[in-house]
């Protein structure tokens, strides 16, 4: 477990090659080695979704992903969800409709919402609730998050 390996992967379109412990958590590598601190840790056990990233088109909890598993993968974090200074429609909707309060769940929530809309461009309320079921928010009571998702696709 203490072995270091070279792992090659892409983050937000950029190729990376890093020497890491194979059991290091993707979450820590993103935050500490790549300074991509937009990905948050809420629980470290796959419950809260604050650490959500997209790997090869799938949302995953990066606190549960050992580095050995990301070799050859493409990863999108909150920093790469829209190009440059642009905002993704979901991000804009979260700003306009109160989808973020303290903001700590927001990066994960935005990625989960983006992923949901990629798979299902016009989700029903039921779809939205289920699509976001892996992401916890303690501030909003979720109402404004649901509304933000709806506004993002109705735009």
């Amino acid at each position: 477990m203490n072995n270091r390996h070279t792992v090659e992967f892409k983050v937000n379109g950029e190729a990376r090659s890093l020497e890491v412990f194979s059991m290091a958590r993707l979450l820590d590598v993103l935050r500490e080695q790549l300074q991509l601190t937009g990905t948050k840790e809420g629980c470290g056990e796959g419950e809260c979704g604050a650490c959500t990233v997209i790997i090869d088109g799938q949302i995953v909890n990066s606190c549960l992903v050992p580095m050995a598993q990301v070799n050859g993968c493409e990863i999108t974090t909150i920093e790469g969800v829209a190009g440059g200074d642009q905002l993704h429609a979901v991000q804009q909707a979260f700003i306009d409709h109160g989808g973020a309060q303290c903001g700590i769940c927001t990066p994960g929530m935005v990625l989960a919402a983006v992923d949901l809309l990629n798979r299902n461009p016009e989700p029903t309320e039921h779809d939205i609730r289920n699509g976001l079921a892996g992401n916890l928010c303690r501030c909003t009571g979720y109402m404004k998050i649901f509304e933000s998702v709806v506004r993002a696709y109705k735009k």
């Binding site: 601190t37 948050k40 909150i78 927001t106 935005v110 909003t140 009571g141």
Partner: protein, 740 residues
Amino acid sequence: MSPIGKAFPRKEGRKKVTGKALYVDDLSFPGMLHGVTVRSPSPRGRITKISFEGDIPWDEFTVVTAKDIPGANYVALILNDQPYLAADFVNHPEEPILLLAHRDKYLLEEARRNVRIEIEEQPAIFNLEDSLARKEIIWGEDNVFKKYLVDKGNVDEVWANADFIVEGEYETGAQEQLYIENNGAIAIANADKGVTVWGSMQCPYYVHKALVKLFDLPEEKIRIIQTETGGGFGGKEEYPSLIAGHAALLAWKSGKPVKMIYDRAEDMVATTKRHPSRTRHKTAVTKDGKLLAVEIDFVIDGGAYCTLSPVVLSRGTIHSAGPYVCPNVRIHSRAVATNVPPHGAFRGFGAPQSIFALERHMDKVARTVGLTPEEFRRRNFIHEGETTATSQVIRERVDMDQLLTRALQLSNYHEKRERFARENAESNGRFRKKRGVGFATFMHGAGFTGSGEVYLQSVVSAEATVEGVVRILAASTEIGQGTNTIFSQIASEALGLDVDLIEIVQPDTAHVPNSGPTVASRTSMVVGKLVESAVTGLKQTLIGSSLLPHEYGQSEFKRACAEYIARFGSLKTSSTYQPPPNVHWDDEKYQGDAYGAYAWAVYVAEVSFDELTYAAHVEDFVALQEVGRVLNPVLAAGQIEGGVAQAIGFTLFENVVWKDGRMANNQMTNYIIPTPVDIPPIRVYFEENPYAYGPGGAKGIGELPMDGAAPAILNALENATGVSFNEIPLLPETLMVKLL
């Protein structure tokens, strides 16, 4: 166009949705070490031995014990009874004893597990009943941190002649705040420059006050900076003083920056929670349903140290008699000690506990008298000119009758009540869902209790730049509730400038004055008013110096600022708290004007109860409230929705499992908070009635939504099942036992 009442987007929203907002764990400094806390292995006893074991390079570690503390070994707050590090005796099973720091956080974790602490155990008590019964004296002479007695009229003269006397007992459990960002702090400290701490917190000046004592340094040598804060709900009111102090002690000894971030398990097991409570009611009523006397015995479990328990108890006490008039009221209340980690601030601050009891009890009294819950309350609602339990004369227009009528309409209450009764009866004998509706009517006082605001003497400053930007300097923190945006709107309104020209300065005790703690639903109403007067002072200074005409536009304002600064060097004004007129409070008798203003509300819940799984589910929720003027409808609704969701958790999901004074389910996997699939539509409505002494007419709002949901839900469950439940959290297990 006035910015008040407009849905301005959250000021720091862009940073938050792009992941650029920097929370404490996102910061790092060159040469930084990580710090951890070694805690007591048992709930109560004498520390006999500490040994450093295992195959650990101990000489690489910074180790701090009580002996290393340069100043006083207590967390300065109310009674100063809680040590930063236990020196020879522990009073709860997570009490900090020793601190460790190292560069490598993985090695640090291993080291923590290899510190062995031996305790000569002494008997401990873990619940408020045992504490009241003095099974063991663990604090002071009688285990009591604080007690109050509110006495209005004379209840003793009433009992003998009352048509009905109704008694009841109600209990609420501990609740974890569960902000998604755990507690954390980073410190740099040395004798030369003093101590600087960055951290996730609600009250920078609480931390400041505590660290001045801990290090015995002059005030200017302690600097506290609030980083973006991922939720607080009270959980970051007093606790940050502890973790900030720990990080600073390690930094002081090691000479290096030290970061201390709790993981979820440690945050849940060791930090504060909502006080568990037990309330007894005895009520005398006439046969036509008029309240004659109310006697309330309210007890909260404070945990091992006093922390904020006296103030939590105070708010719970004052709110325990609700928005009703009664000529004779006696409330005894006590906060008692147990050997569990200290309980602390959590949204509502004692009021959700005592309001739960009251609003469950009101339904019981109504039933006994033979009135509907609605009619009984209508006969007793307080009106303008009448007095509360503390003999406060209500001087604002309040119309609970109208609020109730509207809330019952919005929720279709009467129609549902009738339909559910029919459907539930039809379903008898077959397993299916039963449904019910219930409501609660309540009030919540904004700001500090009694003379609290006068003692605080909060200050806000405003400063103009040559570009005509107005910077607001206050220690009030943005914790997700919208401080930045609300302050900008208030300043923008007072100055007639664009909200974008208002800048909210990051709370940093080196730069901002003490505007008081960010608690008690006081930030918009009390501190917002200071923002309004500080910027008004700025404007008047410019007008007074003839640099600005009475009517002006943005460019004239900018020119005037530039000119003033060129002539006089800077332009800054401050404003200090002034109480509204005619506010009197007697701390001894606990009588008088407890709060400057109250928010009034009626919450209605519809629940279903599944006879097969014993699960109760909230199907629909209407939250109607009068909070003065609504400053920002999206933020205000967001506060209510979030609070109601937490209150639903408090009622039906969130169960702290205690084992010998320690939380046994300290993981998100088995302490369940509501997820996106658990929450019903929360329908939020406001009734607007501007408050003369609030900025733009606003009153406090943040804690209110925590108060009403629990009793409304249990009242609805009683309506659905015909069985009365008086304890929360109410889990399917409990429902099954009672209904089988």
